[in-house]
């Protein structure tokens, strides 16, 4: 006879399924690293690489035949480093290898020749700065007096741009990977087949993946945002409610995509390839590391329809510009569509055995 005192309580299946997801994930140290550790390391590395530094000095080459007066003017200019080059060959070589941005060579009748590649931004800058120095050295006076005042604003730095991007990237990566691996492993071990031999609801099984993601979402977003705030002083100007909502809908959309990616695959290799295929375009086009506006206009409708673009744009708007929730409703609708449609297709396509 069962002793009622030691009866194990029976929790609803959805609760059990979700708890199982959480436990399995926590007990997988590698997965924990990829979800929590990796984005932090990436943010730290990129934050250090692109931290704000005094403007870098541009290297300008001169030849032995360049007139002394001109070389002296260049040396006195702020922001230029003058490099002596042996001859024309050395100058051509230095330009080719981007060792110098500009070569100032003598030309007929005491004039000078600027050699540079106009497609390089630093070369164009070097030309302007060098020309200003050369002309002033030769006696030019500026007709208009100007005054300069410089700013360094929180929110305008690369790290400010980067943190919302990494947040979006992380939502995508952990959503897709954690689900794809768990589903395919269960399928490969015939655990899925065993589960559908019970009265378990298939919808609840898939739903438990989305629910378990919500739990980790809070940790993931919290860790990355606190890291940005504490280490790089990255601001959150909008409301946390709006930020949380975008993260929530984004995370669910990527989880649905994870389910879709893993709906048929039988091996971890197959699902890895598929997941990379789905994620790579978003790594490149969705504006995580640099603005997606850099891509041609013709591609923009596609780029703007990607869920990562929507997530990252909405996160930047809220964090950096303090945009209200209403102004990111377009992105939210896009993400909702990416949640509902892939989930429905996944449920339909899903291979249970």
């Amino acid at each position: 006879m069962p002793d009622p005192g030691r009866m194990t309580p029976v929790r609803p299946a959805l609760v059990e399924l979700t708890l199982v997801r959480l436990k399995e994930f926590i007990r997988e140290p590698e997965a924990m690293f990829w979800v929590f550790g990796f984005p932090l390391l990436l943010a730290l590395g990129l934050g250090i690489a692109f931290r704000n530094r005094p403007p870098e000095s541009i290297r300008v080459g001169v030849l032995p035949t360049t007139p002394h007066l001109i070389t002296a003017s260049l040396r006195s200019a702020l922001g230029l480093t003058v490099v002596s080059l042996a001859d024309d060959n050395a100058a051509a070589q230095a330009l080719r290898t981007a060792d110098v941005a500009l070569v100032v060579a003598p030309a007929d009748q005491g004039s000078v020749e600027y050699r540079f590649d106009p497609s390089r931004p630093d070369a164009r800058t070097a030309r302007l700065v060098a020309d200003d120095a050369v002309q002033r050295g030769a006696g030019r006076h500026n007709p208009l007096v100007v005054r300069e005042s410089t700013v360094s604003e929180r929110g305008a730095r690369y790290i400010d741009f980067l943190i919302p991007g990494l947040l979006g990237l992380n939502l995508m990566g952990s959503g897709i990977w954690s689900i794809a691996f768990a589903v395919v492993t269960a399928r490969k071990q015939k655990l899925l087949k065993r589960l559908v031999a019970t009265p378990m609801s298939r919808g609840q099984y898939l739903l438990s993946f989305l629910l378990s993601r919500l739990f980790f979402l809070v940790i993931e977003v919290g860790v990355l945002l606190s890291f940005g705030a504490l280490v790089f002083d990255v601001p959150v100007r909008g409301s946390f409610l709006a930020l949380g909502l975008v993260c929530l809908v984004g995370a669910l959309a990527f989880s649905a995509m994870g389910l879709l990616v893993s709906s048929r695959a039988r091996t971890v290799e197959a699902v890895s390839g598929l997941a990379n295929l789905v994620m790579l375009p978003m790594w490149i086009f969705s504006g995580v590391f640099f603005s997606s506006a850099n891509f041609p206009k013709a591609l923009q409708p596609i780029i703007q329809a990607l869920p990562l673009t929507g997530t990252v744009d909405a996160l930047r708007a809220i964090m950096l510009r303090g945009a209200p929730l209403a102004s990111v409703s377009g992105e939210l609708l896009l993400l909702l569509a990416w949640l509902v449609i892939p989930f429905a297709i996944a449920l339909w396509l899903f291979r249970w055995r």
């Binding site: 009866m7 015939k190 031999a197 019970t198 009265p199």
Partner: protein, 323 residues
């Protein structure tokens, strides 16, 4: 064949009629019939590839048949799939349960799928995993994993239990533990359908056995009936000295079989020959005399009681193991 009367089939735990299932060109099940009575332990015995797993998975509602009728507990899968799931306990051949979960967590998960069922602690005690209650599945031995799989099949208090090769791959000690567990289950009056390619398992556990080969049912009965059907009292195994083994050609073997009045023709084993005989006390002297007359010196002589293995051999001409 006329369809059985509803009253007759309603009382059956499982009725399979004319089942056919092919995977591409391979016919796995080819017109199989089964009737399992409530409370009996029914065995599907046959070599690997005979279609046992396909048959049991069709009964479990996991595979759709190409042809034929399947009625489980008086219902078809189409009629009441969800209701049936609540009443069945299933152990699949190749399932690996989640390695990172503990024994208790695994059983709690399975328990949560059923409207009614046994207490998880009771099931843990039943399958003798009390000491492993908080151990992760990945750390369990093969036998412990199999007992946990049985626990998962029993946690919903099923009316009908399907066990697909419950002891395949286990060491003898672990097999015996699983057998004891299934015997306890039988004692509680549950209906069990199990598949196996071990004749000793079928003989020990099953009330009735269907011998399956090439997707067909080739014999049906209690293990005792099937063995008695051989008409053999004992199986005589013998071998002659290796140098003289060439002297035992087909004609000589036939003559020997006739001399001992064998119930079936002689069959080669790894080391010699086997003859099923009806009267051992007459057969042995006759065998000795016949071999002596032909100048074939015996190197080995043994007898054993016939088993289901011998039944299978007599029906198919092949041994279960190498079929």
């Amino acid at each position: 064949m006329t369809p059985s009367k509803p009253s007759a089939s309603a009382s059956l735990a499982l009725r399979v009629h004319g089942l056919r299932k092919a995977f591409g060109d391979v016919v796995a099940v080819d017109g199989l019939d089964l009737e399992v009575q409530p409370g009996e332990c029914f065995g599907l015995l046959g070599p690997n590839g005979a279609g046992k797993t396909t048959t049991i998975e069709v009964c479990e509602g996991l595979t759709a048949p190409d042809q034929g009728e399947v009625e489980v507990l008086g219902h078809t899968w189409r009629e009441d799939g969800d209701g049936l799931r609540q009443r069945l306990g299933i152990q699949l051949q190749e399932t690996q349960l989640a390695e990172k979960l503990t024994v208790e967590e695994t059983l709690r998960l399975f328990r949560s799928f059923y409207r009614r069922g046994r207490d998880v602690s009771d099931v843990i005690a039943l399958v003798q995993l009390d000491e492993k209650r908080r151990a992760r599945v990945g750390t369990l031995s093969g036998g412990q994993k199999q007992r946990l799989a049985l626990g998962c099949a029993l946690v919903g208090e099923p009316d009908l239990v399907f066990l697909d090769e419950p002891t395949t791959g286990l060491d003898p000690q672990a097999r015996r533990q699983v057998w004891e567990l299934i015997e306890q289950l039988k004692a509680t009056g549950r209906t069990i359908l199990l598949t196996t390619h071990y004749m000793d398992e079928a003989e020990r556990l099953c009330d009735r056995v269907a011998i399956v080969d090439h997707g067909r049912n080739i014999a049906l009965g209690t293990p005792r009936q099937l063995i008695a059907g051989l008409g053999a009292e004992q199986i005589v195994s013998f071998a002659v000295e290796e140098a003289m083994a060439g002297g035992l050609d087909d004609a000589v073997l036939e003559a020997v079989a006739a001399a001992v009045r064998a119930t079936h023709p002689a069959r080669a084993t790894e080391t010699g020959w086997e003859l099923p005989v009806a009267a051992t006390h007459e057969a042995i002297p006759a065998l000795l005399a016949e071999l002596d007359r032909r100048g074939l010196p015996l190197s080995e002589l043994r007898t054993h009681l016939p088993t289901l293995e011998d039944v299978f051999v007599s029906l198919t001409g092949r041994a279960l193991r190498d079929a």
